[in-house]
Amino acid sequence: MMFEPRIIGFLCTWCSYTGADLAGTSRLQSPWNLRAVRVPCSGRVSPELIMRAFDEGADGVLVLGCHIGECHYDNGNHRTAKRMPPLHALLAFAGLEPERLRLDWVSASEGERFARIVSEFTEAVRELGPCRWRRAGPALPRPELAPAPAERGG
């Protein structure tokens, strides 16, 4: 069976979350591996949240926010953009593959971009295989492959 990664996505409610909605309403195919967490701003995503997601067994963490200059709160995404490189470096230094964490920007009108980023990221994490970061508690059940959605006939 193909490895299905568990991916946590922190999505800014003003842009990426709406972009995800748009991808859905546009019937764009994107992997179901992403568990979306709706946050008020990508600036809300503190490094503790990301580390916690990996601690709890995430195989990948995707942080999506508004493009620089389009933040609803003016500069929340600036802070995210500046926080992420050091976090990347630290987690990589502690033994996490850096590809498991990604920050990108998706606006509310970019449903297609959302679907593409999620697909790319899922495939990249699938390549890496299961994450060995989690060190507590029993092994988590691996997500089963969801049954193929029935063709929606008329």
């Binding site: 490094p47 916690r52 926080r83 490189p85 050091p86 630290l90 230094f93 593959e97 060190r135 507590a136």
Partner: protein, 295 residues
């Protein structure tokens, strides 16, 4: 006149004229140990010393003694203090000033030109002429970046070795899985005694995030995963604020190489933002806005 005498003279002058209420320096303690000293009386200035074992970063004591004017109705518990600062310690003062822990005029900095601290400093009877600490071997700073009085003359920079840098390169050459095993092996010994946090001049949150039992995001358990979260989280909180005094590593009872984590983040901040903590009183770049070039 030795450096100790010069420090005593300056301390006497500052205390006698009432310019400061306390002088924070070093003294000879029991069993040949050099330890921090708080001198408030002119008669006590003879206790102050300077030697090659003055390893403690005394700036740790400053945020607790001084308050910025807006938090204390204009007067702190000890409005003005003088502090003996090595070049590395003086950068922690810049970090405090950037974060408005106190104001510059509350402080008289007795800067000391430093030729390095010996291995084993802080313990009983260290070899005063022994090998230098790892951080001092790579250090080329001889005078503090900020001071009011400078004691001594900057000794020349002689041979420079970099044992910590070599260890970093060795770790970076490992596979991610290898590095994870390396760190888990070290974190496994952690007792969560918080000595690293207590001794750190930059760790001065009133309530530490990692000691809050109501925190949803960080556990207080003494399990491997929570210990790793504590160390990585603490290192991250020091990004752009750690000045590399390596006191955390010195006080660690189980010898976790904490300085490597801090060194990793310092290197990343210098690479990404061209920022070195404490060289000037400016806040860490992880807390600020993007500038034009970075957008």
């Amino acid at each position: 006149m030795t450096l100790s005498t010069e420090i005593r003279e300056k301390a006497r002058e500052l205390l006698a004229s009432g310019q400061v209420r306390t002088v924070i320096g070093y003294e000879e303690g029991l069993r040949g140990r050099t330890r921090p000293a708080f001198v408030t009386d002119v008669d006590d200035v003879e206790r102050l010393v300077w030697n090659r074992a003055c390893t403690h970063n005394l700036t740790t004591y400053l945020p607790g003694r001084l308050r910025p004017p807006h938090q204390s109705n204009g007067a702190g518990p000890d409005e003005r203090v003088a502090i003996v600062a090595k070049p590395c310690d003086s950068r922690a003062i810049n970090v405090h000033l950037a974060e408005q822990r106190y104001t510059r005029d509350q402080l008289h900095i007795i800067g000391v030109a430093c030729a390095g601290i010996v291995e084993g400093a802080g313990e009983s009877r260290p070899e005063k002429d022994g090998p230098l600490q790892a951080r001092c071997q790579a250090c080329t700073e001889r005078t503090p970046v900020i001071y009011d009085t400078l004691i001594g003359e900057a000794p020349p920079v002689t041979e420079v070795a970099d044992p910590v840098g070599e260890k970093m390169a060795e770790l970076e050459a490992m596979t991610p899985a290898g590095r994870m095993e390396f760190w888990l092996g070290h974190f496994d010994r952690c007792l969560r005694c918080y000595a690293c946090r207590q001794v750190c001049p930059a760790c001065n949150c009133p309530t530490c995030l990692y000691e809050r039992d109501d925190s949803l995001w960080t556990g207080m358990a003494i399990r491997l995963q929570e210990k790793r979260a504590f160390h990585l989280g603490r290192a991250y909180h020091l990004a752009g604020r750690c000045i590399g005094c390596d006191e955390c590593e010195r006080v660690c009872p189980v010898n976790i190489p904490i300085s490597l984590l801090n060194r990793c983040l310092s290197a990343e901040l210098e690479r990404s933002y061209g920022f070195r903590a404490g060289e000037a009183p400016v806040p860490s770049p992880v807390t600020t806005m993007l500038s034009g070039e970075e957008g």
